[in-house]
Symmetry: none
DNA sequence: TATGAATGAGCATTCATTCAT
DNA sequence: CATGAATGAATGCTCATTCAT
C-alpha cells in the first residue's frame, strides 16, 4: 500500500502558524496579537516565523486565503445537495452552513470578520463571490425557470449581500428582539419573494411582448 | 435679534480634534493614526489634546458619537418627506441620503466603517437602529395598510440590515458588473416584494380565518 | 482696641500653598504630587502658584523651612520645662514631643521624611541641629555637673542622632517585636548610661590627675 | 578539576543592568535616572532592558536585593572574627565594615539610601535586620554573660538603630565639629555603657531576689 | 534550517512651566 | 494680580523585525 506523500515539513509549519494566528485572534483580538504570541502558540521561534512569512501582514493574508478556501470548499461540498433542493431549502442550507463555518473553532472566522476592514480584503471577497456566483449559475441551469429572470447579475449580487451580511451582523451582535432562526427565515422569505416577483414581472412582460407586436 | 454667543473656545477645539481624527482616519487609516498626528492636524499640541480628551480611546468614542448624531439628524430631517412618499420612494430617499452621508468629506464615515469592528460599537449601532426603528414605526402609522404585516420586528430588522450592508459593501468595494444605481434599485425591489408578499399572505390567512370557523 | 495687622494677602496665599503641598504629600506621596494638585488644593490656579514660587523645587524648599521652624518653635516652647527636669525626664519630653510633631496632621512631617533624600536637606538639618545644640548647652549650664563631660560636642552629636533616627525609623516602619514606648525607654536608658559612664570616667581621670602630680 | 561553566550570557546582562542602575543613581540621582540611561550605561538597547526586567520598578527591586545580599555576605564573612572579639572590637569591626560597604564604588549604596523612602523597602530592611539579629544571637551564645540581659529584643533593636543611622547620617552629611572616627568611638562607648548598665542592674535585681524571699 | 537575544523606532501619556488675556 | 489653556520635552514601555550563532 502506498503512503500518501506526507505534507512537507514546511507545509506543516506554515499551517501551524496560520492556525496559531487564528487562535491568537480568538483569544486576544487583533490589537493584542503579536508575532511573539503567534510564534509561541505555533510552537516555534520568532525567527522561524520570519523564515516562513515575510512579515505579520503576510500571515494575515495567508489566514485570509485559508478562510476563503474553507468557504469555497464548503460551497463545493454543498453543491450536489443544493442542486436537488428547491430555492428555499437551498438558501437555508447555505445560510446555516455558512453561519456554522463562521462559528467553528470558537468563532474563529467570525472574530476575524471584525477586523477585515483593516486588511486588504478585496481579493478574498472576490474569490468567494466568484465561487458563489458559479454555484448559483449551476443552480439556475438545473432549474431553468430562473433563466427567465431579468438582470440576473444584479439579482444575484443583491441576494448574496442581503443574505450574508445580516447573518454576520446578527452573529456578531445578536438582536434580542429577533432570534437567529427568525432572521434566517425572514431573509429567505425576502429573497424568494424577490425572485418570484421578478419572475412574475418577467412573465408579464414576455406575455405583453408576444401580444403587442 | 441677538446673535448667539460664539461657540466657546473649548467647543471649537474639541470639534477641531474630532475633525482631525476623521481626517487622519481618511488619510492614514486607523493603524497609522497617532495622537501626535491628530494633534498636529488639529493645529494644537499633544498636551492640549489631552486637555480635551482623556485618551485616544475617548477621541474615537467622540468620533463615533459625532457620526451617530449625523445619522440621526439626517433621519430627522428626512422624516417629513418620507411620510409623504410611497414605500419605493421612501426607501430610495433613505438609501441615497445614507450613501451620500457616508461619502461626505472624502468618504470620511465610510472609511471609518472599516474599523468599527475594532471598537465597542454596540452603543452607536443601538442608537442608530433605534432612530431608524422610530422612523419606520411612524411611517407605518402614516400608512396603516402595513399594520397588517405579521412579525413586524423581524421584517424591519431584515429590511434594515439587508438594505444597509449591501450599500456599504458596494461603496467600499464596487462590483464592476453592477452599478450602484442598479444595486439600489434591486434592493428596493427586493424589500417591496418582501413586504407585499407578507401582506398578501397575511390577507389570505385573515380571509381563511374568517371563512373557516 | 487695635487690630493686629492682618497677614498680607500674599503671606496667606504662600501659606496656603505650603499647606497644600503637605496635604498632597500625605495624600499622594511625592511621585503623585503635581503642581496642578498643589494649586487645586490651595484653591488657586497654576498660574498663581508660579506667581509665588519660582518652581516646584521652591515649594519643597519652603515646606522644608516651614517644618524646620516648627521644630525650632517646639524646642523653644519646651525649654522652660526642660531646664527644670532631670536628664531622663528631659529626654522623654523631647522624644515624645518630637514624635507627636512628626505625626501631627496625618503624619505630615513623617511622610515627608521619606523623601528628604531627594531634596537638599543639609540646610534644614543644620538649623535644627543648631537649635538642639543651643538648647542642650543651656541645659548643661543649668545642670553644671555635666560640664565635667569630656568631648561634649561628640557626646551631644551621638546622643542627638542615636535618639532621633531610631524614633523616625520606628514611626515609619514599626517593629512588631518592640513597642514604641519600649523603644523610647531603651534609647533614654542608653543615653543616660552613656552620659553617666562618661561622667564617671571623667571623675576618675580628674581624681588621678589631682593625686598624681 | 573542571572549571565551572562561565556565567550565562543572561546572568551577565542582568548584572550589567543592575550595575548600570547603581551607576546612574550615583551620577544622576533617582529623579534623573531613566530606563534609557540605564540601558545606555549597560551598553544595551531599551528593548533588551525589558527582556530582562518587567519594568523600571523591577530594576530597583533587583538593586535592593543586590545590596541586601552584599550586606548579608559581609556579615557572614565577618562572623568568625566577631565571635572572637570583645564587644568593643566587634562593634567597631561592624561599623567600619558597614561604612566602607556603603562607600564602595563612589558611595553607590550610600547614595541609594537617600531614596529608600520612595521604595517599598520593608522587605530589604527585614532581611538585613534578620541577618544582624542572627549574628548578634550567635555572639551572645559565645559570650554567655550577655544572656543575663533583660529585654534582649529591645536592647538589640535600640543598639542596631542607634548604631547604624548615625553612621549613615554622618557619611551623607559629615559634621565639621566631629570626625567620623570620633563618632564611631562615641557610638561604641554609648552602646557598651548601655549594655554594662543593663547587666549591672540585672545583677543587682537577681541579688535582691535571692536575698528578699 | 532554527533560534531567541537584540534592536530601536515609535507610541500614548504626563507634567512643569509659560503667557496671552 | 489672576487665570488656565497651551506647550512640548521627556518618560516608560512595546513589538515587528533582524541576525549572529
Amino acid at each position: 500500500m502506498v503512503r500518501k506523500p506526507q505534507q512537507s515539513r514546511s507545509k506543516i509549519t506554515v499551517d501551524a502558524i496560520i492556525e496559531a494566528g487564528f487562535i491568537c485572534m480568538v483569544e486576544r483580538g487583533m490589537e493584542g496579537t503579536t508575532t511573539r504570541h503567534i510564534a509561541e502558540t505555533a510552537g516555534i521561534s520568532v525567527g522561524s516565523l520570519y523564515e516562513y512569512f515575510k512579515n505579520k501582514e503576510a500571515i494575515y493574508a495567508a489566514m485570509g486565503r485559508y478562510y476563503t478556501d474553507e468557504v469555497l470548499m464548503m460551497l463545493k461540498s454543498l453543491a450536489p445537495s443544493l442542486m436537488a433542493a428547491d430555492l428555499q431549502q437551498a438558501l437555508e442550507i447555505i445560510f446555516y452552513e455558512f453561519s456554522s463555518l463562521l462559528q467553528r473553532d470558537n468563532q474563529r472566522y467570525l472574530k476575524c470578520m471584525r477586523y477585515v476592514g483593516a486588511m486588504e480584503y478585496e481579493q478574498y471577497v472576490d474569490k468567494m463571490e466568484q465561487g458563489l456566483m458559479e454555484l448559483i449559475m449551476r443552480y439556475v441551469m438545473h432549474h431553468p425557470q430562473y433563466l427567465q429572470l431579468p438582470n440576473i447579475p444584479t439579482i444575484i449580487y443583491v441576494c448574496i449581500n442581503s443574505g450574508i451580511f445580516p447573518i454576520i451582523r446578527h452573529l456578531i451582535l445578536p438582536n434580542p428582539n429577533i432570534s437567529f432562526d427568525d432572521m434566517i427565515k425572514g431573509v429567505t422569505r425576502m429573497i424568494i419573494s424577490y425572485v418570484n416577483a421578478e419572475l412574475a414581472e418577467s412573465a408579464k412582460n414576455n406575455a405583453q411582448q408576444k401580444t403587442t407586436p
